[in-house]
């Protein structure tokens, strides 16, 4: 922590400039740094928003035309990417290995299920719901509100899990999170009869879950859709909203990384003892990382449940935590852009890519071995490019130059 905290932009040659090949002195470099630095993300975002419009034309492209995922698939990809970006806060920034991220995802999904379905038919409570018969029993809140509730509730769960466990270091913490990742799905499966009270509807899951929408008033005023479910272009509507949520997540995570809290996380990741000696409050800082990672996991879970119109315990298996971790590792731990790239690549492979590759090479079983393939990706990345596809600068130093003292007897392979 002796050097000044580094930020993007500044004296560095512009990334966009390099990307577009205009090196030093090009027109792009004459732009102010704040604009320059937003250029590439801006272009990517714009292209992403145009995807549903462009997709019919992309299909006609030769050879690669078949590879483009359906818009509905992209929604799932974005949700997973959101989780990867959230997990990146915990694993990448703060260096806390979380093997139970799926627990937060489950918490989010079930929050949506509780507050926007027929589950609690003992009560009838409606608030801000759209396209739902007002006499329908159960709690029906606006899905937008639920996203916030889910985020906060899951963050609370994260803090509750974190408080007793974050004292532990490294691998012990990984194991505890793994334990929670195993307990919560089992709890969800079994909690259909707690003294006669049906909390989660057991293995059947809770379905249907209400859909987001903007209601009649906004529809009449500015033409926003009343209810996504009843719209003809449902996947597209979910797509745009998911993209907005992802943008929000990325924005928050980037800003956090450059904040005082973010620097504290990185300090803890690099050397916990030194960070503590420098006055970084370990517990509070780690708990924040946990809460924020959980927050986005919760939102993603709630949104996904609403998109899938249900929350099912079979969605929350341990492997999913590893899957999301694999996205972060593939992309580059600590790098937000890496998490996005890793998330998109892996969730694409999982949803459509592996099946398509399997068909292309004539082995239909490829999707069956998905986790072996992800495992292979993890191992190969850790061995040969531990910094990930898009390396975060500090992480790169850490991994390539090492943080420990020189070995006395040259055991490095």
């Amino acid at each position: 922590m002796s050097e000044a905290p580094q930020k993007f932009g500044g004296r560095e040659p512009s990334r966009v400039g390099r990307f577009l090949g205009s090196g030093g002195g090009g027109t792009l470099d004459s732009l102010p740094p704040s604009v320059r630095r937003l250029l590439l993300p801006g272009v990517v975002t714009l292209l992403a928003f145009l995807y549903p419009t462009l997709r019919p034309y992309l299909d006609d492209l030769p050879v690669i035309g078949d590879l483009f995922p359906a818009v509905g698939t992209v929604v799932i990809m974005i949700v997973f990417t959101m989780m990867a970006v959230g997990l990146n806060v915990v694993v990448g920034y703060a260096g806390l290995l979380d093997l139970g991220y799926v627990a937060f995802y489950a918490a989010g999904a079930y929050t949506a299920a509780w507050f926007a379905s027929l589950q609690f038919e003992q009560v009838t409570f409606h608030f801000g719901d759209v396209g739902i018969n007002p006499d329908l029993p159960g709690i029906h809140l606006s899905v937008w509100l639920i996203l916030i509730i889910a985020g906060l509730l899951t963050a609370t769960v994260g803090i509750l899990i974190g408080l007793p466990t974050l004292r532990l270091r490294g691998d012990y913490l990984a194991i505890v999170t793994l334990g929670f990742g195993e307990i919560i799905p089992q709890f969800v499966r079994n909690a259909d009869n707690i003294k006669g009270f049906d909390l989660t509807h057991g293995t059947f899951g809770i379905s249907p879950i209400d859909s987001p929408g903007f209601g009649e008033t906004l529809h009449d005023a500015v033409g926003l859709p009343v209810n996504f479910q009843q719209s003809t272009n449902r996947p597209e509507l979910f797509f745009y909203t998911a993209l907005l949520l992802l943008l929000f997540t990325v924005f928050v995570c980037v800003r956090l990384r450059d904040s005082r809290l973010g620097r504290a996380w990185i300090a803890i990741r690099e050397d916990e003892t030194a960070a503590a000696a420098m006055g970084v409050p370990l517990m509070r800082t780690k708990t924040w990382a946990y809460a924020i990672g959980a927050f986005f996991g919760g939102i993603a879970g709630a949104y996904y449940a609403s998109f899938k119109v249900g929350a099912f315990p079979s969605d929350f298996f341990f492997n999913l935590s590893i899957f999301i971790l694999c996205m972060v590792i593939l992309g580059g731990m600590g790098s937000v852009w890496g998490a996005i790239v890793g998330g998109l690549i892996l969730s694409y492979l999982d949803q459509e890519g592996l099946a398509k590759i399997g068909t292309a090479i004539g082995i239909n079983d490829v999707p069956k071995y998905n986790f072996g393939i992800y495992g292979l990706i993890i191992v190969v990345m850790m061995l040969f490019r531990p910094t990930g596809l898009i390396a975060e600068r500090r992480r790169k130093q850490e991994l390539e130059e090492g943080v420990s003292d020189e070995s006395l007897y040259g055991m490095q392979a």
Binding site: G95, L97, L99, P164, T165, R167, L168, R169, G170, D171, Y172, A174, I175, V176, L178, G179, F180, E182, I183, Q186, F187, R189, N190, N319, I322, L325, C326, I329, K368, Y369, F371, G372, I373, Y374, G375, L376, I377, I378, V379, M382, L383, P386, E398, L399, G402, V403, S404, S407, L408, Y409, M411, Q412, A413
Partner: protein, 356 residues
Amino acid sequence: MADTAPTGGRPAFAGAAAYVPRTVVGWLGLLFVAMLVFWLGANLVNDPSEFFNVFFIGLTNGAVYALVALGYTLVYGILQLINFAHGDVFALGGLVASSVILTWFDVGGESGTGITILAITTALIVAVLFSSSLNVGIELVAYRRLRNAPRLAPLITAVGMSFILQDVGLVKWGVEYQTVDPLIPNTVAFSIGDVDFQWNKISVLLLTIPVLLALTWLVTYTRQGKAMRATSQDMDAAAMMGINVNRTISFTFAVAGALAGAGGLLYFLHFTSIRYDTGFQLGLIAFTAAVLGGIGNLSGAVLGAVCIGLIEQFNEGLELYSPGSDWTRSIVFGILIAILVFRPEGLLGERTPEGQ
């Protein structure tokens, strides 16, 4: 085999009676123990013979878990690495053993005693050799390069390795369970009161106990064992004393793998079915056992494994106040979390800075 010198932590169990908790967490832990004692006591009074029958089953299961738990503890002791792939090494060992028994010898319930014994012995040798070379290979390929990397790097690699091994099992043996008739009869060897001791359970103990004694002897009295202990204490210092650290680590992985192979065979014989993903679940249970006993501590791993085996069986078999088998996994992991929170050094472990 803890990696640090004792730092003046309190010795295990010393003055347990006079232990007064200082914190809320401590009181919670005490409450937890009190509830456990009450639950077991109520069941013991309710139906003693059932209690001891369940106890014996739990002990047998615990013996199988112990073989796997020792592998975790050995590797952790020497590298401070949670070898996630260990459970899958165990499963592959069991699957190889199943192939030997079912395909090579085609042994079933009606086969003669001679051929059954021959099949089991061959399966034991093959599984042990296979698993230990597999484990050594994994260390060479996946962990050795990362020895000086940040500690999370090999851990993540181990998780990846675990998935690769699972899919190897899936490719070779498919999704179906490999099942075998009970090869060792469950006739009653002897009874004490109403409690029956069956051959199939005794045989597990008869195999496990010598293995554990041999391991203790290996670590405590042999030159190689001394090298292992030295390496686990301080790798640099051990290297300076002329110990070939790489070879010692390979040897440790070989021993751990051999135990996993034997465990795989025993699991297959005892529970009569095994599948590619058996190792993952059992690995987690065994790891919990190792942590419960105090990771890095050999006798701790055995004690922890027996405790976990007992708790599982008590939970599923006892009548009064038992949550039932739906909750077994939650309970096992709940224990894991509770141990890590309340007493990270485990039952027998020494207090290390890791746990603080």
